[in-house]
Symmetry: C2
Subunit: 377 residues, 2 copies
DNA sequence: CTGTTAGCGCCTTCAC
DNA sequence: GTGAAGGCGCTAACAG
């Protein structure tokens, strides 16, 4: 009725049916429809059937905004993404995002993406089409250090919780969220505070590197070099420890066999060149596919072939690893499992805000390709 | 006051301040605060200042759900993502998603991710933690053909509009959205219906392939092969036409120089082998980096070096192109511009639901790397 | 089991 | 310029 006051423009989409529409059609009260949707067991079978029939017929689905307002939940999970790193092989995020979207959908959640605002919105934008106020408010209450983006979403109750992925950089967001008592789960263990009180899921990088190294040892290699990240990278040191462990276990020497550099192709290339000249390894284990590609570059320059002449193993099983000839053997993180565990933790957390749960550590797998080379023995 | 009825648990986050809180603190009515936020010019300077001071002090930000309910808008844009294609070099989506998130944030929108539900949610899930009702309703009103996911979001008013990216597959979602009069903009032109009535933005693939081909011609190549997609791919045929155009323009022959295959490394490898054996090209232009990597494989097998012996150009400037030695020359799509244009169109569309606007065609650029090889002349 | 009542927090009339 | 109602669509309490 009251809806007729707003005659639809010809091109307008039809406004979705409401609870009232269903109630009218089914000949029951609005509340009964609500119950049919949220507490079906409260209704008598025949009433329920009638209501469901009406729901079907109208294609009714509860209005999100109204439900959110009422229940104080958005069923949205915030995820801050980083810019794609050009020139690297890092593609973990891509797979992870997809897995997370998939998994959380099954749990009734959607993923809301946001970024650390690189540049603040234009202050003198001419066309305030979309709520200049919000932007302005967000700007004035300037985002605290690393928490850019999180704050606004939280204060405007736009999301129920966050998934935090960049826990390795002695992470400001985590500290901020924790202090703020904001619900979040982390992909990545809390390196700096082993008994941090938030749920987390991580992949055992040391185990991955050990897997890679052992694989090469079993192929017959004894001079296996490591190219990893700088010492201030927890992840880097963790992975490196796996290489050390595997080598020590078999009584192989690691002296002069390791290099710690930036995560770029160029660094990997340089490091590989130095190592080849001095330590003369027959195989490389790298902390990332990016670094492994650096090794490929050096081999390429010297007329050596990955796999045939020198074995190379990378980390993360990127698309690069999968497509480059002759295939780059690489450690793969089980991001689908990570996503599943995170969503599980998320559900627990949202049900019981004080939930912490045990940190979950998953084991990566090794994907063997041509760069491993043939058995030497 | 009424809030005190719910004493916060120790670990609970503090409930965000509301309009009323601000009003009380500033000593004005709720409406005045609302105006201060949405129509600042209506207030007297001193009142405005006082209200803003209170807003600052409390860190107030309007509650999303309430605002959404009232304004019938969610300020959310839906984007359906596809699973990462393992074994390919396709990484366009990654960059695009980031660009879109960034751009739309500046316009006051967030991106909501969803997937074409591969598997329906378990019907007998034991723990209905999150609103089993919604899932159930969504299931019963079974998603129409290709519109999986779109329907629910639309009916529940969870998003204001969609960005559709897979317009090449004579796309069910597009047809469905159009018929439904749902607001959406497309990354990809409407191949099958040139005067489709929806806003779109696309990148000129023919121009890209022409750029690549001309680049090789200028290096001195005359026998340039094409490896593209099957004939039923509009995008593939479009890109191919750019190669044809460039070749014809310089009076070069294309006979026997082209191959149309699936977009996989294996297909590219086979195609390259055949072409090398029969047409003896000195250069390849490929419809994708994936196919280009197939060429790399073949060259690798034959002891030939990309760049030095045979030139190769790919398409999409993936991370693979950027990291593989000696670097794969590739056509790069300006996804940041695409995102910007899409958001522009989105704003127009949401302001005027009948907005169609001219399709926007952007031009790609060529990123030259080692695989182009030296000048032959 | 069903219906009635009362808001969630906000914005849009409309008076003042 | 400011304040007082009303209601967006839904669900949580009760009443019957």
């Amino acid at each position: 009725m009251s809806r007729m006051a707003h005659p639809r423009l010809p091109g307008q989409p039809k406004p979705p049916p409401t609870l009232a529409d269903v109630a009218e059609l089914a000949g029951v009260s609005r509340q009964t429809v609500s119950n049919a949707v949220n507490n079906p067991d409260l209704l008598r079978a025949d009433t329920l059937a009638r209501v469901q029939q009406a729901i079907q017929q109208l294609g009714y689905l509860p209005n999100r905004a109204a439900r959110n307002l009422r229940t104080r939940a958005s069923h949205l999970i915030g995820l801050r993404i980083q810019p794609v790193q050009e020139g690297t092989a890092n593609a973990l995020m891509d797979r992870f995002v997809h897995a997370l979207v998939d998994t959380s959908r099954e749990a009734g959640y959607h993923i809301l993406l946001f970024t650390a605002d690189t540049k603040p919105a234009d202050s003198d934008a001419a066309a305030p089409v979309v709520d200049p106020a919000v932007a302005r408010l967000g700007d004035t209450v300037a985002p605290v250090d690393g928490a850019a983006g999180y704050d606004d979403l939280l204060r405007s109750t736009a999301v129920d919780a966050f998934v935090v992925t960049d826990t390795y950089v002695s992470n400001p967001p985590v500290a901020w969220l924790r202090e703020r008592r904001a619900p979040f789960v982390a992909f990545g263990r809390p390196w700096d505070d082993p008994d941090a009180r938030h749920p987390w899921v991580d992949v055992d990088g040391a185990a991955g590197a050990e897997l890679a190294t052992t694989h090469l040892i079993e192929k017959g290699h004894t001079r296996i070099a490591w190219i990893g990240w700088r010492k201030d990278s927890w992840i880097g040191e963790d992975r490196r420890s796996g290489w050390v462990r595997a080598m020590r276990e078999r009584g192989l020497s690691t002296t002069g066999m390791a290099s710690r550099v930036e995560d770029t192709v160029a660094s990997g290339r340089t490091a590989a060149a130095h190592l080849l000249d001095e330590a003369r390894p027959t195989a490389f284990v790298c902390a990332s596919d990016t670094l492994a590609m650096g090794v490929f570059h050096t081999l390429n320059e010297r007329g050596l072939r990955p796999g045939d002449d020198v074995a190379v193993v990378g980390f993360d099983d990127s698309q690069v690893a999968q497509t480059v000839p002759p295939g780059l053997t690489s450690v793969r993180q089980p991001v689908e499992q990570v996503a599943a565990e995170l969503v599980k933790a998320l559900e627990a957390l949202l049900a019981h805000p004080s939930y912490v749960g045990p940190g979950v550590m998953l084991t990566p797998t090794l994907h063997v390709r041509g760069s491993s080379g043939p058995d030497l023995r």
